[in-house]
Symmetry: C2
């Protein structure tokens, strides 16, 4: 790794001197979307899927994406090359950008989106101790649950609760008390001898690893009540960076059956 | 008005050169709270209430407020004096600040909060045409509904829907289909001859103007179903900047009964 750089609005920039405006609507109103992309051996993984999801989210919010996929890919590759990361976590953030006027939705506002990519080392794998979050829930009734919105406040609350309770990760229920997803991952549970995962309509993040795993392994996509989740003998989480076995849920030990799912091979 | 300035982390700064870091958790994760404060004749209105609410929200999120109330008030007054605004909308934003590491909740992360105040002219009063938002709902089950969180994505979706349908404002229902609040205001409805407003437990923003009005006028604080809301003969919205009469809901004209509530006098 040579020096901290970011890719901001189409150019590589020194991270220490790259900023966003104080009236960027990403900062003031969480008005944007993001993607977290794994890079292995300097190759962004599943990038077409990530950019398609970014565009879906941007379309829902009415934010134009200011670069085509090839330009974004070139930017991410330039960022990886210039920083020297090989196995990395890229984060792409798109916001509605700098506001000309105050307010939630000023009339006639021109849109000047902000597109930022940052990079960091791929976080190490570690065993995950999870809780079922009691402090908050995921609103599966909001269209924001179907995109990677910047509005992750409930996930932060859930994760704070997990750490306060001596755990690493929180599984959020939805407003109906059904399993939705973990704070930064999708959830696969082995219940009554079968693997299952919540549908997006229950508030599951539309995860890219999730969808790829659903296509490869025998997994029922179905609603999972909180009571069923607590009956699981094994739980695996996936996101675009890696998979993990949950070693305990609310302090109750779980089995490591991740190899049954073949989930490690997903990232190869 | 002389020149665009902001108050950032304790100092007045030229707006054109004031920035936030690209890894500020307000920008990347909506990890913060805000207040919108009216200033009349250069005096911030209800400032003690606003700062108390800011501290409540910061406490829920575990973000230290880096200045005491007197220092924040002095900063806001300096901002008003230096910019020359007399009747203004101040916006105070507090975030968990610049992250040292990537991720939703990195372990052992030091907190260096960002506190920003910006100022703009008080927006003019205008008649409000409202819709009942069909595109999304407010999650009254989240603790975020009880604070002024940066996670206002659902309100942006609702407001976009309002403008697409030829209106100015959206009233959000909660996950149970009951009235919560408007996108930037609380809602008071005259139904069956009596004024009522939804409780905070139904997802009403804990509005400062709302609370002050509840103490002055005969208003029932009670759940309001969507069907009841559509039966209202008059609807008034309040926020910390001003009150407004809703002239039509979903295109159906309403009466202007704001004077019954004495709501204008609130801001004097």
């Amino acid at each position: 790794v040579t020096e901290p750089l970011v890719w901001l609005n189409g150019s590589l920039a020194d991270a220490a001197h790259a900023h966003v405006a104080v009236n960027d609507r990403g900062f003031t109103l969480a008005d944007g979307v993001f993607e977290t992309v794994r890079a292995s051996a300097r190759q962004p993984l599943w990038l077409a899927d990530h950019l398609a999801r970014l565009r879906d989210g941007a379309a829902l919010l009415g934010i134009p994406v200011p670069f085509d996929d090839a330009a974004i890919e070139a930017g991410l590759r330039a960022l990886l090359a210039a920083t020297g990361f090989t196995d990395a976590a890229l984060r792409v953030t798109l916001t509605r950008g700098e506001a000309a006027q105050r307010g939630l939705w000023p009339p006639g506002e021109p849109v000047r989106p902000t597109l930022l990519a940052i990079v960091a080392a791929l976080p190490p794998a570690h065993p995950v101790r999870a809780i079922v979050a009691a402090s908050t829930c995921r609103n599966e009734r909001s269209p924001l649950a179907g995109i990677k919105s910047l509005n992750v406040g409930d996930h932060i609350l859930a994760r704070r609760e997990a750490h306060a309770r001596g755990a690493d990760e929180a599984i959020l229920l939805n407003t109906a008390g059904r399993t939705a997803c973990a704070s930064v991952a999708n959830v696969f549970a082995n219940i009554d001898g079968a693997w299952c995962t919540p549908p997006v309509s229950d508030g599951a993040l539309p995860g890219i690893a999730r969808l790829r795993l659903l296509r490869r392994a025998r997994i029922d996509e179905r609603s999972i009540s909180a009571a069923e989740l607590r009956r699981a003998v094994a739980i695996v989480t996936t996101n675009s960076l890696r998979c993990a076995s949950v070693v305990a849920l609310d302090g109750v030990p779980l089995a490591d059956l991740a190899s049954e799912l073949g989930v490690e091979a997903l990232y190869e």
